[in-house]
């Protein structure tokens, strides 16, 4: 019988700490798939943010480091400048990348560091127990917006992929989703594209993955996927916001 599906070899064969049904596991697979696809497992250095994403080194069979909260792009900058030929990526959540680490994100992108940023947007702080994230939707109830996010008090959910796209240093900025198999396949292509462009030295590549956090959303896993489709995507549209075709920035 022909084997058509297996664990990427860049992923360690072990149970994750993620909640059952969480799409972090899917996102990990997609990254590992890209690493395997380009055969760069032994050339890759991963940088994890703080939050549910922190345990990258427990799941990926690659060299990895844990960055301070929000600082992964700066840490990745240091690594990439020392190892310009290695593949360097960060894996960060929304609190990490779009709140405490906004400055590092924007300036790393603006310098056009030739790294890949994998951004998990699930509209909530997961590991700390469901507080408001910069991406929390208006009206969304979290443990720190018990009456729902109100723009007068809390501002608006931030759209990172759109915000980064106009920066000259950014080669690729896209938002994909993982709420069903079809979207996962599109997401897989996006992650591969980002790694490919890094290999080609095009500049910073950014993949935002809409993700469900049903535990902190207080819904069942399937309802979480439905919420991504019905509530997140209308505010966070899927698509490619920037894709350089050549090294026209040089």
């Amino acid at each position: 019988m022909k084997k058509v599906f297996s664990r990427p070899k860049s992923l360690i064969d072990r149970q994750t700490h993620f909640c059952p049904g969480c799409t972090h596991g899917t996102a990990h697979r997609l990254v590992a798939d890209a690493i395997d696809h380009f055969g760069v497992q032994e050339e890759t250095i991963g940088v994890s943010g703080v939050g549910c994403a922190v345990f990258m080194y427990d799941y990926f069979a690659i060299d990895a480091i844990e960055a301070p909260h929000g600082r992964a792009p700066a840490v990745a900058t240091g690594i990439k400048r020392v190892h310009p030929k290695k593949i360097v990526f960060t894996y960060q959540g929304d609190g990490d990348l779009a709140s405490i680490g906004t400055a590092e994100t924007i300036h790393t992108a603006n310098r056009g560091e030739n790294i890949t940023i994998i951004f998990i947007n699930n509209t909530v702080y997961g590991m700390t127990g469901g507080q408001m994230a910069p991406t929390t939707l208006l009206g969304q109830k979290t443990t720190t917006t018990p009456y729902g996010r109100n723009f007068r008090n809390d501002g608006y959910p931030i759209r990172m992929a759109e915000m980064l796209a106009p920066l000259e240093g950014v080669a690729y900025s896209t938002r994909v989703s993982m709420h069903n198999a079809k979207e996962v396949l599109k997401a897989k292509k996006a992650v591969r594209r980002a790694f490919q462009m890094q290999i080609e030295g095009m500049g910073l590549t950014f993949v935002e993955l809409l993700s469900a956090c049903h535990t902190n959303w207080r819904v069942k896993p399937l309802e979480g996927q439905k919420r991504v489709e019905e509530e997140l995507i209308p505010y966070f549209p899927l698509g490619v916001f920037k894709e350089r075709k050549g090294k026209d920035f040089l």
Partner: protein, 354 residues
């Protein structure tokens, strides 16, 4: 070849870093240390190095962290508020046992303060500075020559102990010019770092982290760090002692103040007062032993600093008191039990001399 040249302190320090094999600098402008990034932005590219003016001191220290994790000698420099912003990164570096050099050309504070010479960051430098149970290796130069020499020494110690090192100096040391001998140190090759992240070719993947959640894991890690600091206190204390044999008073002073003290000592000598001096060169690890032993013989100790009394505490801690003091502690989430404390009480109670 040993040729004497006239150099500004900040430049001597930058030259020392290059001589030590440092090829990576990340920093953000702040007075009175700007000569360091300006000089290195011109010189590092000539030796195949990298200079990045980061968006903040927070980014700077994290770039140092990333470069250091990749196996090279890396540094940053700043002052006052900038050093405060770096404390988070330095705590992570200490926790993940990463070397790296941070230069603090102090400015007065608290707050934005001014750029006049000061030693007000002694506590921040020598007490760890950031969150958690750790120390930095801290070197305090007192001349332009030492700005060069100690930059090299700081990288050596930082690599030896896999711990961040700091050069603590002030605007006088940074800005003044003095003759310096630059030894032929161009051939310094930084040590190989098998723990570094280089991609996992030919070996198992490895990682660097600071998060320890399993029971007892963090306590074990903190105790390992403590062993390192104990070893530092044992093996790498540096100080200068002068005129201790026949003096009636001992001055303890570091950095710029020790230079001024030398003049005061000469003036006192003309009045018939014999004064000696102990100048800590490493302020962590602090030269406790020499101060303790000297104070036994010469029980008059004058501490002079450009602050309201910070190193003073370390001098006080070094001098033996008549009160018996014992310590018991558990780091990293360990909680002392009543039984632990009772054991300590018994040990103390049964000690000789009570």
């Amino acid at each position: 070849m040993t040729e004497k040249i006239l150099l500004k302190g900040n430049i001597a320090l930058a030259k020392g870093a290059i001589a030590a094999g440092c090829r990576y600098y990340f920093g953000y402008p702040i007075t009175p240390q700007n000569d360091i990034p300006e000089y290195l932005s011109a010189e590092l590219p000539k030796v195949g190095g990298t200079f990045i003016q980061a968006e903040s001191e927070i980014a700077s220290i994290n770039m140092v962290l990333g470069a250091s994790a990749s196996g090279v000698r890396a540094m940053t420099s700043s002052s006052g508020p900038g050093i405060s912003l770096m404390q988070e990164g330095m705590s992570y570096m200490a926790g993940s046992e990463l070397p790296g050099l941070v230069v603090n050309v102090m400015r007065v504070g608290p707050g934005l303060g001014g750029i006049a010479p000061t030693q007000g960051d002694y506590f921040q430098a020598t007490r760890g500075g950031g969150h958690g149970d750790y120390f930095n290796i801290v070197l305090a130069p007192a001349s332009v020559q030492e700005m060069f020499d100690l930059a090299i020494k700081a990288f050596e110690l930082s690599d030896k102990y896999r711990n961040p090192a700091m050069i603590l100096c002030d605007a006088i040391l940074g800005q003044m010019k003095e003759p310096v001998v630059l030894e032929e140190t161009k051939t310094v090759i930084p040590p190989l770092k098998p723990w570094a992240l280089t991609g996992s070719k030919g070996r198992k993947p490895q990682f660097l982290k600071t998060l320890y959640l399993s029971d007892g894991e963090q306590e074990a890690h903190n105790l390992e760090l403590k062993e390192k600091y104990d070893r530092l206190r044992e093996e790498d204390v540096l100080f200068e002692a002068k005129g201790l044999d026949d003096s009636e008073i001992v001055i303890v002073a570091f950095g710029t103040v020790s230079r001024i003290a030398k003049t005061a000592i000469q003036m006192a000598k003309r009045e018939g007062i014999r004064v000696g001096m102990i100048r800590p060169i490493t302020i962590f690890p602090f030269p406790t032993e020499v101060i303790r032993e000297t104070a036994k013989r010469i029980p008059r100790v004058l501490v002079v600093e450009m602050n309201t009394g910070q190193m003073l505490q370390d001098v006080k801690l070094s001098i033996e008191s008549s009160v018996k003091l014992r310590f018991y502690g558990r780091p990293g989430g360990g909680i002392p039990t009543p039984e632990d404390m009772l054991r300590e009480i018994r040990v103390m109670f049964n000690e000789e001399g009570f």
